[in-house]
Subunit: 200 residues, 2 copies
DNA sequence: TCTTTGTTTGACCAACTGGTCAAATCAACG
DNA sequence: CGTTGATTTGACCAGTTGGTCAAACAAAGA
């Protein structure tokens, strides 16, 4: 019964989401204003509210769309692959995401740091289930002696922490490093870390 | 010429800073209101502004006080100690801080994620100098063959990332872990990680 | 062309924001 | 006790906020 979106609807909805990502990832939910987002999207505020019913709606639309993208790299981890290659590969993909989608990472970080008021249910739902599944696989590899006996949950946390840090704390990293590309060094380092940890 | 603070001044200033820590660490600077802080401190808004001239003043007072505490563990790293013990010890102290001062960690995280508008100068000042100093020490240990040849800057980043993650992403960690004390597993894991990385 | 539907806007609103100020109240000291 | 200085407050203000609405404007099919 819902009509297909018109060409203009597609364009404007996309523009709003992009603008929202820009603004929300920089200032957080409460720190962002509809005017900022509207201006960034090239629309007037009432016009923006013609496409999304509220500020909250833009924000949650962004978060839910993001969650899929965010979990994709972990989904790819394959039980039947080579354990070290699978885990190192996951870490690598996650680092690539920090490089290529820093705004998404910061949006997520803002939400979580402030207690995840908008996506708490997703965390203890989809995310938890996915992590549980992959943790079991990793545990299996440990037991089979294919990798060292590390706590799989904390292993996953460590990958999140080590990779997202470069997007979320970008200012700090750059202030300290004075390189124009922190990821040049981060890649090899992350590789060394993961292989060292996993060596049986 | 400045008069010594009265008993009431001491009490109220402290209450305001505590309340500010609570509120700012949860909602960020722009997401927090003076009314929230005043209520949390048990004062009226005008009364709060009698002790601090502005919202900004409370926030920066907090941040600057925090910065010392924050860098203390790294300051302690001793060139003449045992390399592995020194680095593992630093990581340990940093993890303890995430456990004991999660609000401080989140306050800092909020500020950095949003581009560090209030402490950018401190990052490229004090912080950078301190990191440079300690990185040189670590580099020395590497060259002497006492630890593996790892990039000292990224080593320090990894310690920040791995420890602060447990404070900053607390909600997520708990949602996934379902343990009442994530730090119980985090400690041994962190120990394993650091020793593995550093083994020459 | 006309009409219908989709799109855009200016004017507006109530609630909230950081901040001010004069007046009231309190604490302490002689 | 009375006086002085520190403390607290209610009333207030101008600017900003998320959101509404009727009216104006475009698009597109009949």
């Amino acid at each position: 019964m819902t009509k297909p979106p018109t060409r203009i609807q597609k364009r404007n909805r996309a523009a709003i989401l992009t603008a929202g990502l820009d603004v929300f990832s920089q200032f957080g939910f409460r720190g962002s204003t509809l005017d900022q987002i509207a201006t960034a999207a090239g629309l007037s505020k009432p016009n923006l509210l013609y496409y999304f019913p509220s500020k909250d709606a833009i924000y949650t639309a962004l978060l839910e769309r993001l969650l899929e993208t965010w979990l994709a790299p972990l989904h790819q981890m394959d039980e039947d692959g080579d354990p070290v290659a699978e885990i190192v590969g996951y870490a690598r993909r996650k680092l690539d995401m920090s490089r290529d989608y820093p705004r998404e990472s910061r949006l997520f970080a803002n939400e979580i740091v402030q207690g995840a008021p908008h996506i708490a249910s997703h965390l203890s739902g989809e995310l938890r289930v996915l992590v549980e599944e992959k943790a079991a696989i990793i545990k299996g590899w440990s037991r089979a002696g294919q990798i060292a006996d590390v706590d799989p949950h904390h292993l996953i946390f460590s990958i999140w922490a080590l990779t997202q840090h470069y997007a979320d704390f970008d200012v700090q990293v750059r202030a300290v490093l004075d390189t124009d590309d922190p990821f040049a060094g981060a890649g090899p380092f992350l590789d060394h870390v993961m292989r060292s940890i996993l060596r049986p």
